[in-house]
Every structure is written in C-alpha cells, then in structure tokens.
Symmetry: C2
Subunit: 410 residues, 2 copies
Amino acid sequence: MEFFFQVKKVDQIYQELFLLPPLPKEEVALLRAVGRFLAEDVIAPEDLPPFARSTMDGYAVRAQDVFGARESEPVILRLKGDIPMGVVPNFQLETGETARIATGGMLPPGADAVVMVEYTQEIGDLVEITRPVAPGENLLQRGEDIRAGEILLPKGTKLQAGQIGLLAQAGLTHVKVCSPPKVAIISTGDELVPPQDSPSLAQVRDTNSYSLAAGVLEAGGEPLLLGIVPDREEDLSQALNKGLIEAHVVLISGGSSVGTRDFTLRCIKRLPGARLLCHGVALRPGKPTIVAQVGPQIVFGLPGQMASALLVFYVLVRPYLLHLQGAKVRDIALPKIKARATRNIPSPLGREDYVRVRLKEDKDSGFLAEPIFRPSGLISSMAQAHGLLRIPETSEGVYQGEEIDVFLLP
Amino acid sequence: MEFFFQVKKVDQIYQELFLLPPLPKEEVALLRAVGRFLAEDVIAPEDLPPFARSTMDGYAVRAQDVFGARESEPVILRLKGDIPMGVVPNFQLETGETARIATGGMLPPGADAVVMVEYTQEIGDLVEITRPVAPGENLLQRGEDIRAGEILLPKGTKLQAGQIGLLAQAGLTHVKVCSPPKVAIISTGDELVPPQDSPSLAQVRDTNSYSLAAGVLEAGGEPLLLGIVPDREEDLSQALNKGLIEAHVVLISGGSSVGTRDFTLRCIKRLPGARLLCHGVALRPGKPTIVAQVGPQIVFGLPGQMASALLVFYVLVRPYLLHLQGAKVRDIALPKIKARATRNIPSPLGREDYVRVRLKEDKDSGFLAEPIFRPSGLISSMAQAHGLLRIPETSEGVYQGEEIDVFLLP
C-alpha cells in the first residue's frame, strides 16, 4: 500500500472514479423507476405502432382517387363505413370508396392516406373531398415509430415522463435500473453539536450532515447519517468501518485539511487494501479533499466548512453518485448555461475555481452572472447561489462582460 | 354558469392559474423538505455565526501589533495560549500577545484579526509574524452571515442542499412547506388497454396514465391513477367526481378534441360551480386543451396523443403543480438555455409553437438545437428530446443559426 501526498486535477479524479462499475441492477415497476437510469438496453418487443393508424379525424382514402381534388372541383367518393378507435375495420377500401376514421383509428386495407375532416363534406352516403393528399399523409405506418427488435431505449437513459410513456406503450411494466447508492455521512469535530441542540458559546451546530444528506437525496442516493464523531482517531475509525459495512460511499466532512488533526487520512491508511486516489484537489474552494478507494467503495474526505464541503460534493461526489446509478455523461454534470460576468473576477492559475453566482436574465444580453464574493465560511452564500461559475485552471480570471459557463445548482 | 368556446394564450391561462392560492402548509423534518418550497419566511432565531471565529488555521492578533511586519523584519509576539475549536478562550489578548487558533476557533477578547500559519514561526513561547493583517482579516464577525431577526430564507425558497444546511445551522430541524398536490389521472378511450395487457389489433396500450404520472412525480406531486375510462359520458363523469374527491388536480387525457366524442367538456359542464378557463390553447401541439376550475380545484383536459399530452403537461400542468407547492416564478419554469437552430424551422403565426429538439454542444458556437421533425403521434419523439424550443406566437419560425430559447426537459 503506497500513499502519495498528491494533488490531482478534477478531470484526473473523474477518470479514476468513472472506471469503477455502476451498482448492480434491480427490476422495478415503471413508476418506481422515474428519475433513475436504465441498467441495460431495452429492446422493442413489437412494432410501434402495431398497425397503420390515422393521426387525424377525417376520411381514409386511396390517395390516387383524390388526386387533383379542389374546392371548385371536388372528388366524390362513396362512404363505405365508419372506423372508430379500437375497432378492426371489417371491410376493404376499393377504388372510389372512403371511410370515416377517428384519430388513432386503424386504416382499412386498400387505404393509404387520410383526408382531414376540414376538407370534406358528407352528403348522404357520398363524401365530397376538396383537397388532394399524398400517399402516407396523416397516418403512421406500422412500425414507423420503432420496429420490433430495435433498441427502444439505450442503457443509461434517464427515465422521465417521455421514456416512461414509451415503455408503457411497448407493454413493459417493469424495467431494470441500477440500484440507488447508499451514502454514509460522518461529521467530525469536537466543536459540533446536533442541530436540535443549543450550542454553548464556541460550539457550532453540525450543518454538513444535513446539507450533504440533502445533496445525496437530490442526486438519487439514500443518505445514512452516522452522526457527529469527536476528534479522536479511534472514534472516526469505528464510524468509517460502520459506513463501509452499511453504505456504498462514505462522506467524512472536517478533518481533511493539512492542519493539526488529520485523522481522516490516518483512518483511511489503516483500512486493508485502501488506495488513495488523491490527497488534495486542484480546486477552489475544496483543496484539502481526500478521495480513497477501499475495494469497490469510495471514501470522500471533505472540508469542514459547509460551502467548501458542498462545492466538493457538487463537483466530485454528485457526479460519482450518478455514475454509480448508471447515468450517461450527459446526465452526470449539472446543467450548464452561458452567462456574462457582471464584473471582473480574478482567479489563481493552476486551480479550477468555482465562484458562486446569482443569475439574472437580461432582455438583450441573455443571462448575467453576479458573483457572490463572501468568505466560504459563510453558509448563507451557498443558500443564495443559483449556480457555480467555473474558471478553468488555465485562466487568471474572467473579465466583466465575458461569456462564461455557469452550472445550475439543483 | 356560462361557457364560451374560447381559445386562450398560454400567458392568459398562467395568469388565471397563478391567482389561485398554493396548498396549505405542513411542518416536516428537514430531510423530508428536500426539493420542496418554504410556505413562509424563515426568521433567523440567532446571530450567525454566534461568535467571531477564525476562518484560517493561524494566530489571533491585534492587527495594530503586526502593522508593517515583513519577512526581513518580523514582529515578535508572545504566545499566550491555544484556542482549539469548540473551546471558549479563558484569556484576553493584550498588546504584544498572540494565540494559536484553529479554523472555526473563537476569537479571544482583544484580538481583531488572524495571521495565517504560513506567515508565522513559533520559537519557544514567542511567535514571529512576517506579514501584516488588516483588522477583521481571516475571521467572521458575530452575525456577519445573518443577524437574529433577519429573514434567513424567504417564503417560496426551494430547499436544496445549501438551504437545508443553513436551516440546520440555525437550529431549525423542522420547516413549514406547502403540501404536495395530489393529482388524479384518467385516460379515456374505448381503444385503450392497460400496459400489462396484450392489445388486440386496433387497440393500443394506455400510455398517458404512466407518462403523466411520471411527470407528476418529477414535479413533486403525488399521482393517483384512476385507470382507463371507456368513451361513455356516465363513466367519465363518475371518474371525474372520484378524482375531485381524492385529489387537488384532475388530468383527463383523450376526449378533448373538437371531434365526435367531446365528453370531457360535457362532464365538466355537469359539475356545479364549474368555470371554464379555456377550451383551446394557442399552443402547438396541444390546441384542444381544456382548463376548468371547480371550486378550488383544476381539471385539465389534455389531448389523447402522448407527445401532445405531455407537451401540455410541461407547458401548463407542471407550472401549476409547482405554483401549488408555493414555488417562486424562477423555479416554476423549466430551466432555459440559449441555443442555435441547426436548420430553418417554420412555425404558424398566432400560436406558441413547441418543437422537440436534441441538443449538442459545439466548442465554438455553444449549444446547437436539432429539431425532431416527427409526427406528434410518435411517442418516441418525446423520449428522444432533450428540450423544447419555444417559437413565440408572433414569429413565423426561426432561421438556421438563429439564437433561440430552449427549455430543458427534466
């Protein structure tokens, strides 16, 4: 077991984390799968639609019969019957014939197009058609949507309303999705008391357990609060072991700075087979972050200050939790928009810098990003932010008016 | 009771819907409130932070003592003590004195700044300081974040990780949020069978119950599936009554077109005190939509085709469900980005047109929006879309390369 004191770039850490496999799949009912990710390709079991159907209320016709039809010179067809939704027509359309058809109705044999009701007039058992249609117009062919055997939805697809509807249409009432990750959360610090307690002077309430748990919930995981651990190596070691038994991922906040009480690192070193992915991330705020792999599990040592801990959560932990759920790269990152900085924002070279911003929409110039310049110890700054402005490590900052990427906070 | 056959604009419908009050508030534990909206302003019960605290590991000083300190001419102070986190210092700092202090440690009386550990050296009970600090540097003053009595978070705030952390820090373990809306969902149509059934030829599986339920879940509501109702006025009337008893909102899909079987409208008309907000929306797809108010409840009659029904859900129903939960305008709309159309997209004047698009990111020109030109009857088109391109009613379309608004689908 080797341990380097190694500051890594965010991308390097992603590379290592995303190599790890997603969680095992489980089969769940359709409405339990909302917001989750397909663990395997779903194959269409049959053609969709299963028969040629009208997309309009109107009249089924043979397109060649109504060629050249117009207001002043309508084509007259004989009404052969009525095709309501859900009923198989019991006749065939011959030359010169038409049939009333509802939206979704099944085309009768012989028909190859539908004329909208607006361009028709029924007179007894005759129908005047005042517009031509091309073959295939106003209908869906059998299998036009999806053919049996094709991939209906690929592995990694996020299941929201549109996808759930498509699965229901294909008759799939259960799907295989990746299991949600269980995430153990430990707060360390002699000065911490639970939120329900009144801290004595110099003590502070444990914030990170709750903000991180909220983040885990939003990311589709299941938080497991292991509570506050005092600054003693034995206690943290015990809590960490418990976390590794009960959860897929362990978050420890506090105790990861290169300060006087670097217990997290020492506790990780004691775990058999532990591999340190990084100690220090080229990230601001959030540099004193530890990421370690213990068998198939990951332990994140996060900074103690809430805004820093939460920032590292959004930049490193949340993407990993989504990866564990089988999400595609597209869905792993926070949604990103372009915005213009409302003022100069300096930034040190060599570190990815995340600045909390508030967004305003301007009629002319799109989104404006107003940086919140407050110490990262101020917990309100994260609560007031709409997004995170990312300044790459190769940049010394952004100028007022410059167009930049802003990641939207959930 | 008057009924107009009235096509309204989307904005007009919003105006009417948003006049209705949000749902009653309920008190829930902090982690049950994630993703929900504050039903009232939350007032800070105490100053945050409750005492002046260091934001760095270093040495507490009187700033005037270290004025002019530099590498070549350090100031020497006497080490008076050590202030760990969570401990109230039992001494006062006099001129010429300093104390070791940890990040988060409480400043001793007399101190007004902190020198970072990097600019100090301890030699016995003396400390060399090689950089000056300004008063207030590297510390948070008591109440600098929030003062007791100020609004900690305003009514309507969406509670995510940052806000949950702030509430925990203030000692608030329970908050008042608006109740989640219960949404009854009814699918109408003789041709429909449940997804688990094998439809005979000409029948189709009920898709809307599931896609709409998924949309309701994503929007924070509780779906209540009332199943498939055949095309008989009595049956639909019964289902609608059941929905109005058990839910805050009723969604009926199918049966709202100006076609042959306009049961939804007739059933609504039979309800005492029903008021039609619109019959028809200047929206494409989704024109044959009904919105009616029955006392404090809303009934939406949605088109039968899945893609149209879901579009109306995203444009009208989802915003209303978020309004019912007390969301602010900012959080009611889908997140919006700017993108460039990859080709010309014509659009009729006089209707808000929503085109399903796939998004690609281009290094140089930002996001590109590729329209999915498929019939709205194709259910796969909604499952493949990343976003909705909105073409205002005053526009005849967009040109290739034009910058446009795209709403991101969840």
